[in-house]
């Protein structure tokens, strides 16, 4: 699973400016700032990748959960994130064809569609989401935090392109906590395998002070991100913590964590939300202000990208706001206090990888959701189960049962896929969501009646 800086696809601009309330023309400047910044960031990254060869830059590829962006920057890599490419292609409705192509190339219908979308893109000549060609990576940094499929993914890429691969094995929190043995293991791999390989491929010597400096920036941005996501604890919530959050987590989960640009983006974002709170406004949607907050939900599982707008609409049309989601934690769980720590750089990187959402065990995931249900005063839990993703999906029904049991709040279950349009059945999902909202309403009326 992964994130994008700009999942609104081809028409990103409609998103944020719509937040500019027509009556208050003074506010929009700042908002457009954030939007402008975000767009610039994403496009800048794709341009950098497209021109990496001319610029004499080496290219790295790595995954979102447990990505070592600060470290990669120390070696001047242009940074590509295949999951982001896949989701961007999904939002631009290009992924369906890519997946089919990968299946024709021998891949099973059963496996993760992110992988197939990526391989399909290669088969089509590596043209990236923005239409610019993407270079073949010089190194694949395989940190398989939270998902085994990552490992196969890069083995497949290596099979095709013969890229150098470096493995960072991040152990799983099977017992619900990080042990010293795990930390040592990750740090040792960083020192003995990852850093030497990156040095060799890039020709740049590792400078730990550079790393520290990036991590200082990371921590600042993380602070503002957490503030933004937690603003949803208010009633009404000024943000949508799932559909909206996808925009907010974009920069920090991808190639920008640790850059001053990202820090600036989050400061701007925070100021914007503060203004919304002062104005007593709810979240903005692609169709403008959300009029009334009727339902507050916690969502578990990644969204669907191919019909992202349509999916979101099913929520705001009914007045449903997502106040918290686990997906907005895939690229790092920051809301329980973890920050990148410049004083212990490698240990802190290890800690970060070990703490990603899908690296948590089930009791931890359930605790986290129950906590959200409580702290964000949610009416219920909604699970969007993704066909592709065993890492999220295998066992979600137990989460549903346990959360229902522990919080006494109703939970609902829908199914779709990340980037495979064949698995998004709008009628089916709408039917379930409607039933769910009507059920919450009926219960509420009944409770009010006695």
């Amino acid at each position: 699973m992964s994130m994008s800086a700009n999942p609104s696809g081809t028409t990103p601009v409609r998103m944020m400016p719509s937040s500019a309330a027509p009556k208050k023309p003074a506010a929009p400047v700042q908002k457009e700032d954030a939007m402008w910044l975000q767009k610039e960031l994403v496009n800048g990254n794709y341009t950098e990748l497209a021109n990496a060869r001319q610029l004499g830059k080496k290219v790295s590829a790595t995954f979102v959960p447990g990505n070592l962006n600060e470290l990669l920057m120390c070696f001047d890599f242009a940074r590509s994130l295949p999951e982001t490419n896949a989701l961007q292609n999904g939002m631009r409705k290009k992924s369906g064809k890519m997946i089919m192509d990968a299946e024709r190339d021998g891949h099973s219908e059963d496996v993760c569609t992110y992988v197939k979308a990526d391989l399909g893109m290669m088969l089509q000549g590596q043209v990236g989401p923005t239409g610019e060609a993407l270079p073949t990576p010089d190194v694949l940094l395989l940190s398989y935090t939270g998902c085994f499929t990552f490992m196969k993914w890069f083995e497949l890429v290596r099979q095709k392109y013969d890229c150098e691969t470096v493995m960072l094995h991040v152990p799983y929190q099977g017992e619900g906590h990080v042990t010293q043995s795990m930390r040592d293991y990750v740090v040792k791999q960083l020192k003995e395998n990852v850093i030497p390989t990156l040095e060799r491929v890039s020709g740049v010597r590792f400078d730990i002070d550079r790393l520290r400096q990036y991590m200082r920036e990371s921590a600042k941005a993380e602070e503002d991100l957490v503030w933004t996501l937690q603003s949803a604890k208010r009633k009404p919530s000024p943000i949508d913590g799932y559909f909206g959050a996808v925009y907010y987590i974009g920069p920090i989960f991808t190639a920008f964590r640790g850059t001053p640009e990202a820090t600036k983006f989050y400061a701007t974002l925070r100021a914007e939300i503060e203004q919304r709170i002062r104005d007593g406004k709810g979240p903005i949607t692609p169709e403008g202000e959300m009029p009334e907050e009727k339902y507050r939900l916690v969502v578990e599982g990644p969204p669907n990208w191919t019909s992202f707008r349509e999916f979101w609409k099913m929520f705001y049309d009914e007045g449903a706001v997502v106040v918290a989601s686990t997906y907005s934690k895939v690229g790092g769980v920051y809301d329980f206090g973890f920050r990148h720590d410049p004083d212990h750089p490698l240990e802190s990187l290890a800690e970060y990888c070990l703490g990603c959402y899908t690296n948590l065990n089930f009791p931890q995931r359930i605790d986290m959701i129950c906590k959200y249900m409580d702290e964000y005063q949610a009416d219920g839990l909604l699970i969007n189960s993704i066909k592709s993703c065993n890492s999220f999906s295998a066992g979600q029904l137990l989460i549903l049962r346990e959360v229902e049991k522990r919080t006494g709040k109703p939970a609902a279950f829908i199914e779709s896929d990340l980037v495979d349009p064949r698995y998004f059945s709008a009628a089916n999902i709408k039917n379930r969501l409607e039933s769910y909202f009507q059920m919450i309403k009926q219960k509420r009326t009944a409770a009010g009646a006695h």
Binding site: N428, Q438, Q442
Partner: protein, 454 residues
């Protein structure tokens, strides 16, 4: 009088229930869902209103005591005669449509022969029709498509042989004509049919002339009473396509929960197996839904599965359950993939398993899937109500009882003979509540549309 109507537009059948101000069920109607949702809804509602009139006849006649003792027999005969009248009209319609469809160049030289064969065939069908509606006669289904279809196929093979035309051609004409006929609404002929049926029944039962008048008067009176459609609520799989505004639509989950609660006030868990989905619903003592689960996107193990099996075995849906009940041995069927049901069946038959044993295994497999969905929704609590079309199937019920006992011990299992109407009953109850509790009135736009459909 004021009535409240619920319409449940399901994936395979469309059901309607009419209730009165005291929330008594006046009538129920059912038809197969078809390509035109408006028509399906209109026909189901019309059937329910006809059924309501029979209900009212029964009340009026028992008040007047005109038939003392023979009332039930008389009404049963009247209903059969009414169905026969309806059937004959539709059959006539089908004949005309078939003849029209057989014309032209499609069959080339064979066209003449086909037309002759059709005439012969329909003459036979008309002649045997009264037999099918005779007391005690068993019909394959309640729907014209199925009744007429099965007889057409049966009689057609011989007719084709005698007439020297290809059986395939007759099949083809039928296939293309039946859709047109079943999409016609016969609203205006109800009164005529009823009066004709009344005469038929009098003749058949040799009713004395004096009694005839005593019976005819209250019936005529009831026929003249207008049934006001005070409020209509739509639900079901196809509800989004109903010509209703959002105000008049409820989710089928809520309707099934409430319907089951109305039928059995102590219901805690509801299982509904419909054509394309299986739902498990938990309701509180007031009939309010607490949680629900449905099958995922795979349609394996739902009612349609039985439809495929019935097709494969060349049997009616009504006949599957009884066949499975004859089983003496369990055959384990693992795949409930609807599409491959036929292949699985053939596979087993070729391994020498008996049909009834395989059938029993298939029914158990469906119920096993339902048990998982129930477990997903939080398990079975007392009392447990089974609704939906599959609840009519005795083998499915048997398998369910066994599995419930194995997994949850003794639990009261409620099955209403009218369980297929549960969703519609819930809808009707919501309609009643909307008016009596929330003071709503039906929207103008919809009223006029409803009238037009009638």
């Amino acid at each position: 009088m004021r009535t409240f109507i619920g319409i449940d537009l399901g994936s395979t059948t469309t059901k309607a229930v009419v209730i009165d101000e005291a929330r008594n069920v006046l009538g129920r109607g059912i038809t197969n869902s078809r390509s035109n949702y408006d028509t399906a809804a209109a026909i189901a509602k019309q059937e329910a209103l006809v059924n309501a009139r029979f209900h009212l006849f029964r009340e009026a006649l028992s008040r007047s005591g005109a038939l003392n003792g023979a009332l039930e027999d008389f009404l049963a005969q009247l209903e059969r005669d009414f169905r026969l009248e309806q059937f004959l009209e539709q059959l006539g319609d089908l004949e005309a449509t078939c003849l029209r469809n057989a014309e032209g160049t499609r069959f080339g030289e064979a066209a003449k022969g086909v037309a002759l064969a059709l005439e012969k065939l329909f003459a036979l069908l008309k002649a045997e029709a009264p037999e099918q509606f005779a007391p005690g006669a068993k019909r394959k289904s309640d729907f014209f498509r199925d009744i007429a279809g099965s007889r057409y196929l049966a009689v057609g093979e011989q007719v084709a042989k005698d007439a020297g035309v290809r059986y395939d051609m007759l099949l083809n004409v039928f296939d293309r004509s039946i859709i047109e006929v079943e999409n016609r609404v016969y609203g205006e002929s109800i009164k005529r049919h009823l009066l004709a049926a009344l005469d038929r029944s009098f003749g058949f039962l040799k009713t004395a002339p004096a009694t005839r008048d005593a019976v005819r008067a209250p019936i005529q009176g009831m026929l003249d009473t207008a049934l006001e459609e005070t409020y209509v609520v739509g639900t079901g799989y196809g509800r989004a396509r109903l010509p209703f505004s959002k105000e008049h639509v409820r989710s089928e989950i809520l309707c099934h929960g409430l319907g089951a609660h109305v039928m059995f006030p102590h219901t805690a868990t509801v299982l509904d197996i419909g054509g394309q989905d299986t739902k498990a619903i938990q309701v509180d003592p007031k009939g309010i839904v607490e949680s629900f689960q449905m099958n995922d996107r795979c349609a394996a193990g739902c009612g349609r599965y039985l439809g495929y099996i019935a097709d494969e075995m060349n049997m009616g849906l009504h006949e599957l359950g009884p066949l499975a009940m004859k089983s003496t041995k369990t055959v384990r069927i693992n795949s409930t993939c609807t599409v491959f049901a036929g292949a699985e069946l053939r596979d087993r038959l070729s391994l020498g398993e008996k049909r009834e044993d395989i059938m029993a295994g298939l029914h158990r497999a469906i119920i096993l899937r339902a048990m998982s969905i129930l477990a997903r929704s939080g398990g079975i609590r007392d009392q447990f109500t089974f609704t939906g079309g599959v609840a009519k199937n005795e083998a499915a019920v048997k398998a369910l009882m066994e599995l419930v006992r194995e997994n949850y011990g003794e639990v009261t299992l409620n099955i209403n003979p009218d369980s297929i109407y549960t969703g519609a009953l819930g809808g009707a109850t919501f309609a009643w509540r909307a008016v009596t509790e929330e003071g709503k009135t039906a929207e103008k736009r919809e009223e006029t549309r409803e009238k037009a459909a009638q």
